[in-house]
């Protein structure tokens, strides 16, 4: 099965939404393609000719807290979970139809938020992902509602893709395919490019290989 990986991809639908055995949310995406079998067979690919669509599974991790985290940091970490999910829901629903009750069962109020939120991050995470799953459910597997999506590299050390999670109003990572690609707002930020977060190459693969190759070449012609 081919993976979408880091990059900007078109004609993407949500294929599956589930929690894994560790309780983290996983969202599977699939690329809808109208594949021409003759063109496919005429293409000189990597030896894996297939009608199988490209897919990608993105894990939305529970926030990892440090002992020093105060309510502001925790709020940021909760937002980094919720905001990308809200962005996905907005591809299918208007604002007035998206409902969240992320503090359900915590007893947290406006007065106690600053002191209690740190203790309830897991419950809040569970609320967010279960409420997201319930709201996205009617659109899972709906091939008629296609999106364009941008995945960033998890970190310089980890080449797997993830959602962008901050400043999504100005730097969206998902948009409807009804917006022509020429007017797309999906692009990598200067920061992401500087940090090579737009590159899904595994650590040590091409860069290390090319260095090694260069060394071998040097030895050969020495």
């Amino acid at each position: 099965m081919q993976r979408l990986g880091v990059g900007i991809h078109e004609n993407i639908v949500v294929e599956k939404v589930e929690k894994n055995d560790k309780g983290n949310l996983e969202i599977s995406f699939k690329q809808i393609q109208d594949i021409d079998p003759m063109a496919l067979l005429n293409t000189s690919g990597s030896g894996s000719t297939s009608f199988e669509p490209k897919t990608e599974k993105i894990t939305v991790w529970k926030p990892t807290l440090r002992e020093t985290d105060d309510y502001k940091t925790v709020t940021d970490k909760i937002a980094e979970v919720k905001d990308p999910l809200q962005s996905i829901l907005l591809q299918y629903l208007t604002f007035d139809k998206i409902k969240w009750d992320i503090f359900a069962g915590t007893g947290i109020t406006a007065e106690t938020y600053r002191t209690k939120v740190v203790d309830y991050v897991e419950t809040i995470y569970d609320n967010i992902v279960s409420q997201f799953a319930a709201q996205i459910k009617p659109f899972v597997g709906d091939n008629g509602n296609k999106n364009r999506i941008l995945f960033v590299r998890q970190s310089p050390a980890k080449h797997y893709p993830k959602f962008r999670s901050r400043y999504l109003d100005t730097n969206p990572f998902i948009e409807s395919m009804s917006i022509p690609s020429t007017a797309s707002k999906l692009k990598y930020t200067k920061y992401e490019i500087e940090k090579s977060l737009n590159d899904g190459t595994p650590v040590g693969a091409p860069a290390a290989a090319s260095t090694a190759d260069a060394k071998k070449a040097e030895e050969l012609f020495a």
Partner: protein
């Protein structure tokens, strides 16, 4: 719509779309108008070219017509009926649609009619409508703005509407004439 690009709404349109300018501290800023050329709007791209307007809250980004006014303290300096707005975009659309005719001398103005009997809404209430970037490096490029739960209505030059009405009247009159002997028989 005047041939210099000035646009003024009718009192009926102002009432229908809540277009009047509101005091600065008003809870609802009132509406302006989005103008959409179906040529660039994906849901209608396979249909004959149509120009549509939509009433949209003034606080939304990139409202095409009647978006802003000036204030005396908190009170609008003028009514939307008399302030008008200059719209090169609508003028260009009107000319390309032939609403100003094809003669060498343009009429000074053309009346536009909003066809409220043909409302257009997207199925899920989400519409990404075409706009043009007005400033910066991308000036002139197309961009798309999101609107929610907004109804759009086709507009046309009123001269066409008069022609249509006239032809319908003729048909009805003819039918009446034909049916009269039958009802007598």
């Amino acid at each position: 719509l005047y041939n210099n690009g000035e646009v003024y709404p009718s009192a009926d349109l102002v009432a229908l779309g809540n277009l009047e300018y509101q005091p600065k501290n008003a809870e609802n800023a009132g509406n302006g108008l989005d103008v959409v050329d179906s040529t660039d709007w994906t849901p209608l791209q396979n249909h004959p070219r149509t120009i549509l307007i939509g009433f949209t809250n003034r606080n939304n980004a990139k409202v095409d017509l009647f978006a802003t006014t000036k204030y005396n303290d908190v009170t609008p300096k003028s009514s939307v009926l008399t302030q008008g707005v200059q719209s090169e975009m609508l003028l260009n659309i009107a000319r390309s649609m032939g609403w100003f005719g094809s003669g060498t001398t343009e009429p000074k103005y053309v009346d536009l009619q909003v066809l409220t009997q043909y409302p257009v809404k997207t199925k899920d209430g989400i519409a990404y409508i075409p706009k043009v970037v007005e400033r910066g490096d991308r000036k002139g490029d197309k961009t798309y703005e999101r609107r929610e739960n907004q109804t759009f209505y086709p507009i046309t030059a009123i001269i066409q509407a008069v022609d249509t009405t006239a032809s319908i009247t003729t048909v009805e009159t003819t039918m009446d004439t034909v049916s009269t002997p039958q009802s007598n028989s």
